[in-house]
């Protein structure tokens, strides 16, 4: 059963320059306990999709339409009060910016315990003990001591682990991890990923893993959603996406990742960013969003906005050139 199903979600930002279509008709689904990877270039709407799901889009942004079915209920129909009961408790989120995501004025244990106490009937003292236990679980050394410290006394990696401990402290059904490792250095990155996987096994939490890093996706995700300019352009299992990408954008994305054993000079030349820039979200044309950068584009692509076609249960592509699984 799908624990999460997002249907035709649209989120826009009304700013001075006009309306930015940050999330433009996004649909995706996630099974219980599954790791769903979301990839895409900077600005493709990954974070905004996550914030929409949490009900945390603030003005000038607004979720305009769509459904967010979580365990059968549409979160968009809930009142703010009901949504608060979901946030942190059943769906929680780790943010992209570990250095600034903790309140500088409160001790670590107070920042975790306020969440635990919000969703469980537990005394302050017990919540402190629980906080120490959680810090131990995310492998923070001397958890008793660290719990009493302030964010500025901890490194970026430790703060991110604290965010993870916090996000898992109420046993959520879905954990949204928005680039949980991007701000960290490489060795710490691997540790944090391992840690999340371990905890996932332990708690059977579904993870929505947002990242630029295809390596991370390959390592932990079962399914992948590829986003481009506020839209989903391809979905599929991790094997399908990596071994047999269908959409030209997905192919280009995979091409831009170095492969072991292909480090010759010629290969290195091919290893490049995808040419061109992400289209302006204010003035999306009446044609395929990837048209300007697509190596396979032709006249037909200029006249049509391709639909996301599901060619197999759970796998879909948004490209008019794609004719079916074996085409």
């Amino acid at each position: 059963m799908n624990i999460l199903e997002i249907k035709n979600l649209k989120t826009q930002f009304h700013v001075l320059d006009g309306v930015a279509h940050a999330v433009n008709n996004v649909s995706l689904s996630m099974e219980k306990g599954e790791v769903l990877g979301v990839v895409g270039e900077s600005g493709s709407g990954k974070s905004v999709t996550a914030l929409s799901l949490m009900g945390l889009v603030r003005p000038p942004g607004r979720v305009v339409s769509g459904e967010i079915l979580f365990d059968g209920t549409d979160l968009r129909t809930l009142s703010e009060k009901q949504m608060q009961d979901v946030r942190g408790n059943r769906i929680s989120m780790i943010f992209q910016e570990p250095m600034t995501s903790l309140n500088p004025l409160l001790k670590i244990r107070d920042q975790i315990s306020e969440m635990v106490m919000r969703h469980n009937s537990i005394s302050k003292k017990d919540s402190y003990d629980y906080c120490v236990e959680m810090l131990g679980k995310v492998q923070i050394p001397y958890p008793e001591k660290r719990a009493k410290e302030y964010p500025h006394q901890l490194s970026g990696g430790m703060r991110q682990r604290i965010m993870i401990a916090m996000a898992l402290s109420c046993n959520p059904e879905i954990l949204i991890a928005d680039e949980p490792t991007t701000a960290l250095d490489v060795t710490i990155q691997a540790q944090v990923i391992d840690l999340m996987l371990n905890l996932k096994e332990q708690y059977d939490t579904g993870i929505l893993m947002i990242t630029h890093d295809l390596g991370v996706i390959a390592e932990i995700a079962q399914k992948v959603v590829v986003m481009y300019a506020g839209q989903v352009v391809e979905t599929g299992t991790v094997y399908e996406i990596f071994d047999n990408p269908k959409h030209p954008y997905t192919k280009a994305l995979l091409d831009s990742v170095p492969k072991l054993g292909k480090r010759s000079k010629a290969e290195r030349k091919r290893l490049r960013e995808i040419k061109g820039i992400v289209p302006d979200l204010f003035t999306l044309g009446a044609h395929c969003n990837f048209y300007e950068r697509c190596p396979d584009a032709d006249e037909a692509c200029k006249r049509i906005i391709p639909d996301l076609i599901e060619y197999e249960n759970g796998s879909s592509v948004r490209c008019i050139k794609f004719q079916g699984r074996n085409a």
Partner: protein, 310 residues
């Protein structure tokens, strides 16, 4: 911490010294002295009397000798003798300090008590009529000249309505305090309201506020536990520095409301060229300014764990 406070207090000494020197020179080279000026008017004394008066006050001695004499007293905490009054400057200031502190603290209370909530409401209801109303109020509050505001209040509440006494200390009774404190505090309150509004808006856009919301906390709890403290850190400096200059502004208010504080003493002494009194008043006002600054720095230590003084 104690060490830090002691260090800061010791730093006051060179500051006070420099200011006293500067002031001494400026006041003594200005044309006119106690023998030629009184109450802002030219004084007509015959040459003989003037000469005697100068001798008596020590004004016949050269400037550096006079300064050395003054500084000797200052080290002992003696601010000298008034040229025109029988009391010592220390006694004069001791009598006048309490009313000034009263009216300043009352103004602070009004400004903080109304300014901070106003700023908060305005920021949280950003773009609504409440926001517009309070900010229009704040801009007018900052722009109204105190003297004019004082006169209007006096006219309305004393002359027309007869609710409040127009002037005087009234032995320190509350009804006498209301108008001067309000007049003094209004601009300050407006400034605090605007600063608070900007600070709250800044804090609301911080990542940790989004984190707080993601925990499922209600807006009220988010504001109380996460927005408030961080806002205070942003406005503390403004609140403090302005309080310092507010003590300076008592000069106008005290004169207007015949409030027997340091400010009105200062004005009188300037008009009478009563230099020791002028110097004493200014030094006391500066001292208050320095102490307020120190208190603010200490308050940072209390609310912000990132700041530590050793």
């Amino acid at each position: 911490m104690t060490l830090y406070v002691v260090k800061r207090l010791l730093q006051f000494i060179p500051t006070i010294f420099c200011i006293s020197l500067m002031m001494f020179v400026i006041l003594n080279v200005l044309p006119g002295d106690a023998t030629t000026m009184s109450g802002g008017m030219k004084r007509q004394l015959d040459a003989k009397t003037a000469e005697n008066m100068k001798k008596q006050l020590g004004l016949d001695k050269p400037l550096h000798i006079r300064y050395l004499h003054y500084i000797k007293g200052l080290v002992k905490g003696d601010l000298g003798k008034s040229y025109l009054r029988s009391e010592s400057v220390n006694d004069l200031i001791a009598q006048r300090l309490k009313p000034t502190i009263q009216v300043s603290l009352a103004a602070l209370l009004i400004a903080v008590g109304f300014g901070i909530p106003l700023g908060f409401v305005s920021a949280l209801k950003q773009g609504t009529w409440m926001d517009t109303l309070s900010m229009v109020g704040a801009v007018s509050g900052v722009s109204i000249p105190q003297f004019w505001l004082g006169l209007i209040l006096m006219y309305v509440f004393s002359l027309l309505l007869g609710w409040l006494p127009p002037q005087g200390y009234g032995g320190g009774s509350l009804v006498n305090l209301i108008m001067p404190a309000f007049t003094l505090g209004v601009g300050y309150m407006a400034l605090i309201a605007r600063t608070t509004r900007a600070a709250v808006i800044e804090v609301l856009s911080e990542d940790y506020i989004r984190t707080a919301r993601s925990k499922g906390l209600s807006e009220w709890i988010v504001n109380r536990r996460h927005v408030f403290g961080n806002t205070m850190i942003l406005i503390l400096t403004t609140v403090g520095l302005q309080f310092g200059s507010l003590v300076g502004q008592t000069v106008i208010i005290e004169k207007l409301f015949s409030w027997p504080g340091i400010g009105s003493l200062l004005v009188d002494s300037i008009f009478q060229r009563d230099i020791p009194v002028t110097q004493g008043c200014v030094l006391v006002i500066i001292g208050v300014f320095l102490i307020v600054n120190l208190v603010i720095d200490l308050m940072y230590v209390i609310i912000d764990p990132r700041i530590q003084y050793k």
